[in-house]
């Protein structure tokens, strides 16, 4: 484990202890503790839900539902697991229920934005990496965002949730494994499959022309 990873883990543990303290304080009647919990987790939860259901209004409703369940469980709460794991488990289960109820909501077309930015020899990643405002125009940037969002949205559900929890919420594989009730190795495999799909879907956006040509040749070979 690298020093940075150790730092991150220590920071995560400290945050986890603080979450538990806040939840216990709320259990004892301190409403400001709950407000603080909401402040700490609302953004992460909202973005997880947003990437999972691909609808702002639905994500807002589900966020309310997640927090209401925390409120209702106040009296029975026992700090046996990390608060983050618990609350993301609720969110994840709501998303699973949602996708069962409305399996069609995830049909996102990837066709429209494809191929619009291929006339440049500079890779998109290079242009994104540069902070020059002229390197990527607003219209092109919007297309890229749409394309990436669509590619993430089109990942299979189990891979998408691992990818989002890792990439957006920065949870460890162990935490994700607890949330999804699978082994850590399964989480790793799902993450790899997700990255592999995104790589093939979005590769042209960050590879330069020669790399793209090479990749295409190898693919056909």
């Amino acid at each position: 484990m690298t020093a940075r990873q150790e730092d991150l883990r220590e920071q995560s543990d400290a945050e986890s202890r603080e979450d538990v303290r806040l939840m216990l304080a709320y259990q004892q009647g301190d409403v400001t503790a709950f407000e603080e919990l909401v402040r700490r987790h609302r953004r992460g939860l909202y973005n997880f839900l947003l990437r999972s259901v691909a609808s702002r209004s639905r994500a807002e409703e589900l966020l309310q539902e997640v927090l209401l369940r925390v409120v209702r469980s106040r009296a029975r709460y026992q700090p046996r697991a990390k608060f983050t794991t618990w609350v993301y488990t609720i969110a994840r289960n709501l998303c699973v229920d949602e996708s069962r109820r409305r399996p069609q909501w995830r049909e996102v077309s990837l066709e429209a934005p494809r191929g619009r930015s291929e006339d440049s020899s500079t890779s998109l990643r290079q242009r994104l990496a540069t902070s020059e405002p002229t390197s990527v125009g607003p219209a092109e940037a919007r297309q890229i965002r749409e394309r990436v969002a669509a590619a993430v949205a089109n990942l299979p559900g189990d891979q998408r949730e691992v990818f989002v929890l890792r990439q957006v919420n920065e949870l460890s594989f162990r935490e994700i494994a607890e949330i999804a009730s699978v082994s850590e190795n399964t989480v790793k495999s799902r993450m790899r499959y997700a990255l592999e799909k995104l790589r093939s879907e979005l590769g042209e956006l960050y590879r330069s022309e020669p790399e793209r040509d090479d990749a295409t040749t190898r693919h056909h070979a």
């Binding site: 690298t2 709320y26 409403v31 709950f34 407000e35 909401v38 609302r42 953004r43 992460g44 909202y46 973005n47 947003l50 990437r51 639905r58 807002e60 409703e61 966020l63 309310q64 539902e65 927090l67 209401l68 369940r69 409120v71 209702r72 469980s73 106040r74 029975r76 026992q78 700090p79 046996r80 697991a81 618990w86 488990t89 289960n93 699973v96 229920d97 998109l124 990643r125 994104l128 890229i144 965002r145 990436v148 969002a149 993430v152 990439q167 460890s172 594989f173 790793k188 495999s189 993450m191 790899r192 990255l195 995104l198 790589r199 979005l202 590769g203 956006l205 960050y206 990749a215 190898r218």
Partner: protein, 349 residues
């Protein structure tokens, strides 16, 4: 990109947690490193293209209010009974009460009437035919009428007035709609799974699932009212109210709906059902009036919330800015109504 061996794939997966986007992976063989490099580029692209979004400020107001409200009760509050759980009790208490009152009135007439010894039964029939007093006895009790009054045990299903039968008929129609509403999940709170590592949420989930099963009153309620209808209709017809009974028999559902009992006798839930129907038919002005009446009568937060939500949806359809206030008030009463509101928005004409 060359294919990786199983060992390399395993090394690749083990190194994934170290990828953060912008890092320089140095684990494994060159093919693994190359693949990790590419994954890292994907992550960088995703991070640049998918910025996290903030939660709109007003979204969690209702939740925070609910959190404060939960603390107002020192003990863990019991789960708020849903509309479908609490409503069936109302007719179950009211109908026997009316029936008992009717039987009591009949007994009083028989015992302390002007001439108890002179064929009280035929007099009661004659009176009923004149329309002065509605008949209160079923024909099966005719023989018993000559017997001492104490020999006839009071039965809740006997001695019903035609107007009550009519009300029951309307109630039956509305119960069908309620059943549809319940089926659509409008009367119940969503019962999502809540598996939790500490088991607390899992137990809540189990509890809510159990209560969800218990809270499916559509069938019992319908059968109860059908039973009432079956028992009340013949009683009314054979008991001497031939005119009222046959008129009731001839009525179609529409006619019954048109001749629904006055709103003063309807419960908040019946009013809500009526208002929902009006709103869905696009008759928003009438719907709003009905919602306001329902609001005035509503006892439970769920009903108050439904009424406020209905008014809000009507106003929203009309493009009125006040809609937001009502919808907010609805969520204050019952935050779980957000799901119902969303469903109603989707089915809005």
């Amino acid at each position: 990109m060359p294919e990786l061996t199983p060992d390399e794939l395993s090394a690749l997966e083990d190194a994934l947690e170290g990828l953060t986007g912008g890092s320089r992976p140095d684990a494994g063989s060159p093919p693994v490193q190359a693949r990790l490099q590419e994954y890292d580029q994907v992550l960088t692209l995703c991070r640049a293209s998918l910025p996290t979004e903030s939660v709109p400020p007003e979204v969690l107001d209702g939740v925070l209010r609910q959190a404060r409200a939960e603390l107002d009760t020192s003990t863990p509050p019991p789960r708020e009974p849903t509309a479908t759980e609490s409503e069936p009790r109302q007719p179950r208490w009211w109908y026997p009460t009316f029936a008992l009152a009717g039987v009591g009135l009949l007994l009083a007439l028989l015992i302390w009437g002007p001439r108890p010894s002179e064929k009280p039964r035929s007099e009661a029939l004659a009176t009923a035919e004149r329309g002065a007093v509605p008949p209160l006895r079923a024909p099966g009790d005719a023989a018993g009428a000559t017997q001492p009054a104490t020999s006839a045990p009071p039965e809740p299903t006997r001695g019903r007035e035609p107007s009550e039968a009519e009300a029951a008929d309307v109630a039956k129609l509305e119960s069908v709609e309620l059943a549809v509403m319940d089926h659509a999940g409008l009367g119940e709170k969503p019962a999502g799974r809540q598996g939790a590592p500490d088991g607390t949420i899992a137990s809540e989930s189990a509890a809510s699932a159990t209560s969800g099963r218990a809270a499916q009153p559509a069938r019992p309620r319908r059968s109860f009212k059908e039973k009432k209808l079956k028992s009340s209709r013949p009683a009314a017809v054979d008991g001497g109210a031939a005119v009222a009974g046959s008129a009731l028999k001839r009525r179609s559902k529409d006619a019954v709906a048109a001749a629904a009992p006055p709103e003063s006798s309807l419960t908040a839930k019946n009013l809500l059902v009526r208002a929902h129907r009006l709103r869905r038919e696009g008759r928003c002005a009438e719907a709003r009036r009905t919602y306001r009446r329902a609001l005035a009568r509503a006892q439970s937060p769920r009903h108050r919330g439904l009424a406020e939500a209905g008014i809000g949806l009507c106003l929203e359809q009309a493009g009125e800015p006040e809609a937001k206030q009502h919808l907010g008030a609805a969520l204050d009463h019952d935050p779980t109504l957000s799901t119902w509101i969303a469903a109603e928005r989707r089915r809005a004409p």
